[in-house]
Amino acid sequence: MKRISYLIRKSAGNIIKRPLSGITSLLLLLLLFLMFDLVWISALSVNWYLDRLVSKVDMEVFIEGSLSDTAAAVVFETVRDLYGVRTAEFVSKEDARERLNSLMGTDLLAGLEGNPLPRSINITFDSPFLSSDFLDQFEQNLRRLQGISEIFYPRGQLQKVENIRNLALKSVIFLGFAISLAVVLNLLQSIRLSAKTREEELMQHSLLGAGKVFLSVPYIFEGIFYALVAAAVGWALLIYASGYLTFKNVEIIFPTRLEIAYFCIVSCLIGMVGGYAGIRRSL
């Protein structure tokens, strides 16, 4: 019997010969991984939702009434070329009046002589720049330009979104860390239980001169097996379930396949660490 094939058969035997313990270990890990996956999915989905909310944010820059149209055009061009601007639209007095009319449904200014509405520039931004910090800075830069009377943008809303994003990020980091720790500890306990039931064997085999590495390989395999199966089954279940679940107003964002593959690889590593930690003290 070649040593490698023995090690593989031994690892399989360790799992199969105690099916109830194996299933308990797997189920526990599966639950933990499912939680981790859900946290990940939630984080992606919340992020996507907040991105969508923020992408509608724009800035309204009002131009002083005293400024000549040519000067206003210069201001517009300057603004349009500023760093971070995606689109800039010039809203003339007539445009503004039309907008108000379509908003109100009737020409409220019909009785008035002249047009009291100001000219303005409507700016949208590239998504990386849609932060309250950048827009603050941008506003201050604009204020240095001449001929600008007022600047409006939904600063409060933006900050609220940023706060939520921050809170979500902290929660995800905390939960991810806690769950990962739980996974390692749990693997450690499963493997320790597995090793404990084979104490006699470990002792006799070490008396026969089996090295620590040779003795621990089956347990490390066992750890990897549990972690990998739990991780893969977890994602399979979620992807399967997502076909049946649809939510109004909420889009569920999954990690990409590559990310899931990386996740499974990392699970293997965690399985290895847990397996090694579990067997170590029994040697």
Partner: protein, 222 residues
């Protein structure tokens, strides 16, 4: 002192247990290659402790233990593991794995050596028939009778083919027929070139030809 053919060298071993019992007090012992030494002494005199010193399960308080020319120090895992591969045993620490079958108990040394499955099978089967245990091949070791268990451990020593065998009370609880069978096996192993240390409380029933006999008394080996 490191004569070329010394397998075990115990030099000036002093050992006191945690409860204050002084077991060894300047004990010296040499086992030559191929020698069969019977070591006797009353119960609690320290025979099993001696075995534990030699396989590096315990360190003496003072003195040196040299096995196969290597100084044994329970601290250095690698060396101890390497030396242990050359040391087999029966009784004491060397017990069958109770939840494994007789076959599984016997095949492990061959696996460790990296033998192929088919050669493992035939080797184990051959040894089992030598021992008259072939009917118990698939039996769980925990179900064996005391005598069968001792045979099993002798079988493991034969298969592992270790040059040094430490045998702790091989005849304890055996009937006369089984005793003589075990003695025959031990003799055959000795003839095959294995060096042996046999620990026993009553020297009388261990009549082995060619054996050197030593008594543990007053913390020394005479």
């Amino acid at each position: 002192m490191n004569s070329g053919n010394s397998i075990v060298e115990l030099v000036d071993i002093t050992h006191t247990h945690s409860d204050g019992a002084r077991l060894f007090d300047g004990l010296n012992f040499h086992l030559k290659s191929g020698e069969m030494a019977v070591i006797y002494g009353s119960t609690g005199i320290g025979k099993t402790t001696l075995v534990e010193l030699i396989i590096g399960k315990r360190a003496p308080q003072s003195g040196t233990v040299v096995v196969f020319g290597e100084k044994i120090d329970p601290g250095s895992e690698r060396l101890v593991a390497k030396t242990r591969q050359k040391i087999g045993g029966v009784g004491g620490l060397f017990r069958p794995i109770s939840y494994q079958t007789v076959y599984e108990n016997l095949v492990y040394p061959l696996i460790l050596r990296g033998d192929r499955t088919s050669s493992c099978r035939s080797r184990v089967t051959r040894v089992l028939s030598q021992l008259n245990l072939i009917g118990k091949k698939g039996e769980t070791a925990g179900n064996l009778s005391r005598g069968e268990r001792i045979l099993l451990m002798l079988g493991r020593a034969i298969i592992a083919d270790q040059p040094l065998l430490l045998i702790d009370e091989p005849l304890a609880g055996l009937d006369t027929q089984m005793s003589s069978e075990v003695l025959k096996l031990l003799h055959r192993l000795s003839v095959a070139g294995h060096s042996m240390m046999i620990m026993t409380t009553g020297q009388t029933d261990l009549q082995v030809p060619n054996a050197t006999v030593h008594e543990i008394r007053d913390g020394r080996l005479g």
